[in-house]
């Protein structure tokens, strides 16, 4: 199943009008809760986020997340069917790419010093494979 059950049939239809304020305040839909199967949903998100959350923190996180998601659902009021996404504000003025040459930005010793656990010049991590494999 999909991690979050979401109902899409309540989307508001944006209808342009002469009055700016009316234009931006159109809302025809009813809002519905976004998170359904809490336990499943959180588990799958935890796996994607690579963060374990437990106990009280977990409950708080879930209730805040639900609250915020309900709030951002406001965006569905707007009709954006013919709108192109805006990714970066200075469109079309992309910086020239740097030539693909190694730069002397950080020396090796400095970089190695930051590593929490290592053997010589190698990063040390716990086993990647589980025992049973």
């Amino acid at each position: 199943m999909t991690p979050f059950a979401l109902h899409w049939y309540n989307i508001g239809i944006f209808q342009g009008g002469p009055d700016e304020k009316a234009r931006w305040n159109v809302f025809y839909g009813q809002r519905t809760p976004l998170l359904k199967n809490v336990e499943e949903e959180l588990k799958s998100l935890e796996a994607l986020c690579k963060i374990t959350v437990r106990g009280e923190e977990r409950e708080k996180l879930y209730s805040n997340l639900t609250r915020v998601l309900q709030y951002v659902e406001k965006l569905q009021e707007l009709d954006t069917r013919h709108v192109k996404p805006l990714v970066l504000v200075h469109e079309g003025s992309s910086a020239p790419l740097r030539s693909d040459e190694p730069l002397d930005v950080m020396d090796r010793a400095t970089f190695l010093k930051m590593i929490p656990d290592r053997i010589g010049t190698m990063v040390k991590v716990p086993p990647v494979m589980k025992d049973e494999l």
Binding site: W8, W24, C49, I51, L61, P85, A95, V125, P126
Partner: protein
């Protein structure tokens, strides 16, 4: 000396009245004696600052040409790298992380002769509006120590407001410079996106993040901004024409069209509303033509901002994996646990919440409905904004709906996000935006207003504020409890 402007301190240093070392020792001492109740400082950079000061004294005695900020102390938000000093981002994850290089702005400040005396507190990874999300300490507002100084650059604001330094650097993703500036009677400037390099700033929302200056005086702010804004080859979003002279002799606003949105005042405290009306009158007296505008799209700016900034944060913060730097959980027995437990222990609740939100809006099946939807609304907002600037030269907005609130007062996340009502549209559009001291509440709390210019209109934005400062007394007011020498 604490009341001096940056230019004043630089003048006293250059004229030989006082050495850089004396200046540095003076401000270090002032922080040590005065910051206990404010909590604006995470680390005093005593050794580094004194070394910088001695070098400046030496170079001066040799007759070297020194930069425009020579001898001037500055506070740096603790998400900006100073090589060899810690950059914690007020996070347990980076509690012991030492920056391996200088941020581009730090290089520029070194060249200009500024002295880095302390790292300033912030909301963890710059996520928050009150500095209550710092993993290490809370910061308080020098105007009323029961209240918050705003955030996320709360330490940078509180420190300059308490006169621990005349200048500081903050970073602004959705209001993190302007909101704290507004609550502490400072100028806080968010430049046009791309004016100031993000190289060496720990990323939060890369399409939105900008570094910017705080100051108590508009000319100080302008001077600092001129030092910061340069093209940087190490930031692919840095503008080729990032630098421009910002100080203009001409302060006349005669015939300039100022867009005002009185409808927004339904959403603010009566004190803020009164200050807004007074400011409109002042700008009118300065020769501005007042153009009433509607900014109903602001309602959509916050949800757009939170979807996009959280999505970008969740990808940016994926680099904190516990393998290469920062915290690694001692309990991790396999690689997956290195990630999961290090991040569980290292990140605070607000940061986790945003990573979860960002991951959700980017996840398969929801990306189109949330993330791409928000990118489309971002274009709608940007177009509305462009249309506004065909009718006016500058916009006047409140900075915050209310003066500073009490610590612990806001617990609901959406209520906290509404702090950004007037500040989150600027970053979506990329335009320059300045919070400036505009008045006080009946109880004596500072109230800031914002000037928002068109893209690349940085100089004009600062010029409006300069004209306002010339005819009003607000910027010169200091928090009474800190307007004294500490002994």
């Amino acid at each position: 000396m604490f009341r001096e402007t940056a230019r004043g301190i630089n003048f006293r240093f250059m004229s030989g009245e006082i050495s850089a070392e004396e200046i540095t020792r003076y401000f270090l001492k002032r922080i040590r004696l005065g910051d206990g109740a404010v909590g604006s400082i995470l680390a005093l950079l005593e050794e580094g600052a004194l070394a910088q000061a001695r070098e400046l004294d030496h170079r001066k005695s040799r007759g070297d040409k020194l930069g425009p900020l020579a001898g001037t102390p500055i506070l740096i938000k603790d998400n900006i790298h100073i090589c060899g000093e810690k950059t914690t981002c007020a996070s347990r994850f980076l509690e012991h992380f030492v920056a391996p290089f200088d941020a581009f702005v730090v290089t520029k400040l070194r060249e200009a002769g500024a002295i880095f005396i302390a790292k300033a507190n912030l909301d963890e990874f710059a996520m928050g509006s009150s500095t209550e999300n710092s993993a290490f300490q809370k910061s308080y507002n020098p105007w009323d120590l029961e209240r918050i100084p705003g955030g996320s650059s709360g330490g940078s604001a509180a420190g300059v407001s308490a006169m621990f330094a005349p200048l500081s650097l903050g970073s602004d993703t959705g209001g993190s410079i302007r909101q704290p500036a507004g609550l502490t009677n400072l100028y806080g400037f968010r430049p046009t996106y791309g004016r100031v390099s993000r190289y060496g700033l720990v990323s939060f929302g890369s399409s939105l993040d900008q570094i910017g200056p705080f100051a108590r005086d508009i000319d100080d702010l302008i001077l600092l901004q001129e030092v910061l804004a340069h093209h940087c080859p190490l930031d692919s979003t840095s503008l080729a024409n990032a630098h421009e002279p910002l100080l203009t002799k001409d302060t006349s606003l005669q015939g300039k069209r100022l867009g005002v949105a009185f409808e927004l005042l339904d959403r603010v405290d009566s004190d803020v509303s009164e200050v807004y009306h007074n400011a409109v009158e002042t700008f009118q007296e300065l020769g501005c033509e007042i153009v009433p505008v509607s900014m109903a799209f602001l309602e959509y700016a916050i949800p757009t901002y939170y979807v996009l900034s959280s999505a970008e944060a969740s990808t940016n913060l994926a680099r904190f994996d516990g393998v290469r730097y920062g915290r690694r959980s001692p309990d991790a027995r396999e690689l997956e646990e290195v990630y999961r437990l290090s991040r569980m222990e290292g990140f605070g609740p607000e940061v986790k919440q945003r990573i979860f939100l960002g991951t959700f809006v980017l996840s398969s099946g929801f990306k189109e409905a949330y993330f791409q939807k928000a990118q489309k609304v971002r274009r709608l907002i940007s177009e509305e904004h462009k249309a506004l600037f065909e009718r006016c030269d500058m916009l006047l907005l409140p900075t915050t709906p209310t003066p500073a609130f009490k610590a612990g007062e806001i617990t609901d996340p959406v209520h906290m996000y509404l702090q950004d009502l007037f500040t989150s549209s600027g970053p979506l559009v990329g335009c320059p935006s300045l919070s400036f001291p505009a008045g006080f509440s009946k109880t004596g709390l500072p109230i800031g207003l914002q000037l928002e210019g068109p893209l690349m209109g940085d100089r004009e934005t600062l010029r409006f504020a300069r004209a306002f400062q010339e005819v009003t007394p607000f910027a010169s007011k200091s928090p009474p409890a800190f307007d004294k020498e500490f002994a």
